[in-house]
């Protein structure tokens, strides 16, 4: 009984403490099987059901049904177990695992995971991050910021006229009143790209990106709401902050890319050993 408990505890520890325990545990079990001379090859043709195995099947039944199995029920549990084991081993022998898309994908994922594992845990040095940061500055740049004025019209024709009349306006300030009512800001001051996207939508942003900053009213620019006369006063392309400020992002990015790279490298090494022939 006490032995049972200690095995239980050990199992729980393994569940908690991964690799080291797995390996030590693996060696122990290896030694145990070797000493007992038990076959562990799934292709072996001997299936032994020990009393302990039977007890376990019985317990499993009890947990499911809330009572102990009768002798007949336990026999059928054993039969089912044997049946599964025989078919499983024969399936392996016939190589059925190889034709199963799910099994194939699962196993190849495990290979990828193995290849990537080191990169998941590695702590990159400052030099590594600096190099990564220097090589991909665009990934860590601040968002572009938009400074613009816009006058909204629901009709295309009116918007066109509006662009023309706004450009011939003399007073700098009375442009705001000529908008159709819409709950959108008339002036944006260094609004980050994401906020422009949220408030004006994808279509508007794509059209704005085609404009050059200047003092003239341009457009009409179409959005999901209608049409906008736009004066794009400034477009600040995002600058790259110093490494210290974006260190986490650099590390995340490095890690993601490195994992990908290792998978690919691992694959490439294995792949080199194969000759692939693809029929035309």
């Amino acid at each position: 009984m006490s032995a049972q408990v200690s095995v239980n505890d050990k199992a729980r520890n393994w569940l908690k403490e991964p690799l080291v325990h797995f390996l030590i545990g693996g060696l122990l079990i290896y030694a145990m099987f070797a000493w007992r001379g038990e076959p562990v090859d799934p292709a072996s043709r001997t299936i032994e059901i020990s009393r302990a195995d039977r007890a376990q099947l019985s317990l499993g039944f009890e947990r499911m049904m809330g009572r102990s199995p009768t002798d007949a029920e336990l026999d059928s549990q054993v039969k089912r177990f044997v049946r599964e084991e025989v078919l499983y081993r024969e399936a392996l022998r016939l190589g059925l695992d190889g034709n199963d898309g799910v099994v194939r994908r699962r196993l190849s994922q495990k290979m990828d995971l193995l290849a990537a594992a080191q990169a998941e845990t590695a702590l990159p040095s400052d030099e590594t991050l600096q190099e990564w940061y220097d090589a991909h500055p665009e990934r860590f740049a601040d968002a572009s910021q938009y400074t613009l004025d816009q006058v909204f019209k629901s009709e295309m024709g009116q918007a066109k006229e509006r662009v023309a009349s706004l450009n011939s306006m003399t007073k700098a300030d009375d442009w705001k009143g000529s908008s159709d009512p819409i709950s959108l800001p008339a002036s944006l001051s260094q609004m980050p790209r994401k906020e422009v996207l949220d408030r004006f939508g994808e279509q508007f942003l794509a059209n704005i990106d085609a404009l050059k900053p200047g003092k003239q009213w341009q457009g009409p620019v179409q959005s999901g709401f209608g049409y906008h006369a736009v004066r794009l006063r400034a477009l600040d392309v995002g600058e790259v902050p110093p490494l210290d400020e974006v260190r986490d992002r650099v590390e995340n990015d490095w890690r993601t890319a490195t994992i990908e790279k290792r998978k690919e490298r691992g694959y490439a090494i294995l792949r080199d050993a194969y000759t692939i022939e693809i029929a035309e």
């Binding site: 393994w14 947990r63 508007f204 709401f225």
Partner: protein, 657 residues
């Protein structure tokens, strides 16, 4: 032999890989974000988020097949491209502003731990059921889903294997997953850019009646690491509220709980009584109102606003009700009509004001949000990017609309009953944990069924049409209360400033409605829906009798497309309650915004995969998506400390109570 050793090494590596997401994060990222960014004077824009996302740390999500973890979920929500479990590249066209990963507290990570464990280790634990589930999970996605179906049934029936129930044995594992998770959140939490909230789902389900809540923390890992997620097994919501109070007291932090899927609770979510059937106490009502300021009104497993049986005069009632109305969550018990009032939000709001008449406090004074409840790690809320309830019905499963569900198919629930999921909008002064959490706390939030409409609502006594010409938002805040607020009755009909702006990349708007619920002078609780503004209301859609003509339908069924040739980009109204009478008691008002008809995800599926929808699914393949604002309450007596400092004095006239 070598084979088994390799397997162990592989499993170990996998576990390590999953555990190794912790890293450094600076203080701004790991706190509540106060003082980290410049704030607007008033909440100036809605921030969009999902407060209800499951990742592979959720027992069921993992079992259903998802293999994306919290890190991928965070990346996806903030706009990065990720590879979905079924292989497709997925990226949100418009990233979210905030995310609450709400993995089930029960068995947090348990299935993943089971899955990652060496088979011999599981065998050594001597539990045949766990070993069987282990093998099924490794066998195939279909088997994995079956295993998890069994696991959920076992949880509902209280027959989970001992090893999974053993709190002590699980605690260490849970703590490890929880702490790693909180570190990950901090790394992705960027004040001003993207907010990652700590949270979990409390999944209480007595007899299959859904009493689930999402718990959301205001704080970063410095505080949240001091607790563990509260289990739903063998506990009560009052226990959860105590846990939240205890957390606040011990850490100085704050937490709130968001009930969801009241539609699957068989009347248990919003009861008139205590859970044990006795009369509700003021203490219970106060505690509930304080702990649960917001309710999730709409998500993948249906919409909980109202039911046609409860609101027979509401032509637009019943969105997202079909299929879900049949019974509780696993459909182990059917829903009867007398249960509906405890299932739906509008009736709960009505129960709340009527209970307030008796108790002096309203247990159901909550705001409304939408969320996904996606179990794919992908917070997708739009009809054209529906990633499925769980990985078993991601788009890779082409006939998922016609297929049965895992929740009660034999009795009539099908894939097409799933909604695409909603989003939560929060009116905040900036994008930090503190700002968005506080918006939830004061209920200045609203729900949408997916589209990102901008909905504003203010109530006061001196608003007018002219307000629209100036800075009406500022006037709204200065001279009234925003959505979620309480307005003290001044013997005068309240006036509302209402604005609904369409989703810039979505469909035009059909109409804006006000839903009023009140206790009249004869103590009868009533509800009424008012059409207050609609497109083309002076032209083709002028009132016919008392009715607003239908907006029309531009959906091309073959093509799964629509055009914005009908409807309006924005609808605004200054609206005064025409039925207000001095002598009416507590009242609430919320806004419902309807889009023009658009294709549902089922129609997009039909087009993409060339499948034919069943007649029933086809009849439901076009819908009017919507937004629900949080209510504003018109209260007779101000509650201490909850009104604006300049709130008028209490009216103490006799109201024949």
């Amino acid at each position: 032999m070598r084979k088994s050793l390799t397997k162990w090494a592989l499993t170990g590596a996998a576990t390590l890989a999953l555990a190794a997401c912790s890293g450094t994060s600076d203080e701004a990222q790991s706190g509540d974000g106060e003082g980290t960014i410049e704030l607007a004077e008033f909440p100036d824009r809605p921030y969009w988020g999902d407060t209800h996302l499951h990742t592979d740390n959720s027992v069921d999500a993992f079992g259903f097949g998802v293999r994306l973890g919290p890190e991928d979920a965070l990346k996806f929500a903030r706009g990065d491209e990720v590879t979905a479990t079924t292989g497709a590249q997925a990226k949100l066209a418009r990233p979210l502003d905030f995310l609450v990963i709400a993995d089930h507290s029960d068995g947090l990570g348990a299935t993943r731990r089971l899955y990652d464990a060496p088979r011999l280790g599981v065998q050594a634990m001597g539990d045949e059921t766990m070993l069987r589930w282990y093998d099924m999970m490794h066998e195939s996605p279909q088997q994995s889903q079956r295993a998890i179906g069994e696991l959920i049934s076992a949880a509902a029936a209280g027959t989970l294997p001992e090893a999974m129930m053993d709190a002590e044995a699980n605690e260490e594992g849970t703590r490890e997953i929880w702490e790693t998770h909180l570190d990950t959140l901090d790394r992705y939490n960027e004040p001003g850019v993207f907010t990652a909230f700590g949270g979990f789902e409390y999944s209480l389900m007595p007899g299959g009646n859904n009493l689930h809540r999402v718990v959301m923390f205001r704080d970063g890992s410095d505080r949240t690491k001091q607790v563990l997620p509260y289990p739903g097994l063998a506990t009560t919501p009052e226990g959860l509220w105590d846990y939240m109070d205890g957390y606040a007291e011990a850490t100085g932090g704050e937490a709130l709980a968001i009930p969801h899927n009241s539609n699957l609770s068989n009347g248990d979510m919003f009861e008139l009584t205590m859970p044990d059937g006795g009369p509700m106490t003021a203490e219970y009502a106060r505690k509930r109102a304080r702990s649960e300021p917001v309710v999730e009104a709409t998500q993948i497993k249906g919409d909980s606003e109202t039911h046609p049986f409860l609101s027979p005069n509401d032509e637009m009632a019943g969105f997202g009700v079909t299929g879900w109305e049949l019974g509780n969550l696993p459909l182990s018990a059917k829903t009867s009509n007398d249960m509906l009032a405890g299932n739906y939000i509008r009736s709960a709001l009505k129960r709340g004001i009527s209970l307030e008449e008796k108790l002096g406090v309203n247990p159901y004074a909550f705001g409304l949000i939408g969320s996904t409840d996606s179990h794919t790690s992908l917070a997708t809320g739009d009809e054209d990017n529906f990633y499925g309830k769980h990985t078993g019905n991601e788009p890779a499963v082409e006939d998922r609309a016609n297929a049965g569900q895992n929740l009660g198919t034999r009795v009539g629930r099908f894939g097409w009953h799933y909604l695409a999921g909603g989003y939560a909008a929060a009116w905040a002064r900036g994008n930090t944990r503190a700002e968005i959490f506080d918006a939830f706390k004061r209920r200045e939030v609203y729900a949408t069924t997916g589209p990102r409409m901008t909905v504003r609502l203010f109530a006061g006594f001196d608003f007018s049409e002219e307000d629209w010409d100036g800075d009406w938002v500022k006037r709204g805040y200065n001279n009234g209360v925003p959505m979620g607020g309480k307005l003290v009755d001044k013997k005068q009909a309240p006036t509302f400033l209402i604005s609904a702006l369409k989703d810039p990349d979505g469909a035009n708007l059909d109409r804006v409605q006000v839903v009023k619920g009140w206790v009249d002078q004869f103590d009868v609780v009533r509800e009424k829906v008012y059409d207050v503004v609609w497109s083309d209301m002076e032209g083709d859609r002028a009132l016919q009798g008392n009715k607003v003509p239908k907006v029309g339908d531009t959906v091309n069924r073959e093509d799964a497309s629509y055009t914005n040739t009908i409807g309006a980009p924005e609808l605004r109204a200054t609206w005064t309650d025409p039925d207000y009478k001095w002598g009416q008691k507590q009242a609430f008002y919320y806004v419902r915004v309807l889009e023009i008809p658009t294709p549902r995800w089922t129609l997009f599926d039909a087009k993409r995969f060339g499948i034919t929808l069943s007649p029933a699914a086809m009849a439901d393949a076009v819908a009017q998506e919507r937004a629900y604002s949080s209510p504003i309450w018109l209260t007779i007596e101000p509650e201490k400390g909850e009104n604006e400092p300049d709130a008028p004095a209490t009216m103490d006239e006799d109201t024949d109570a």
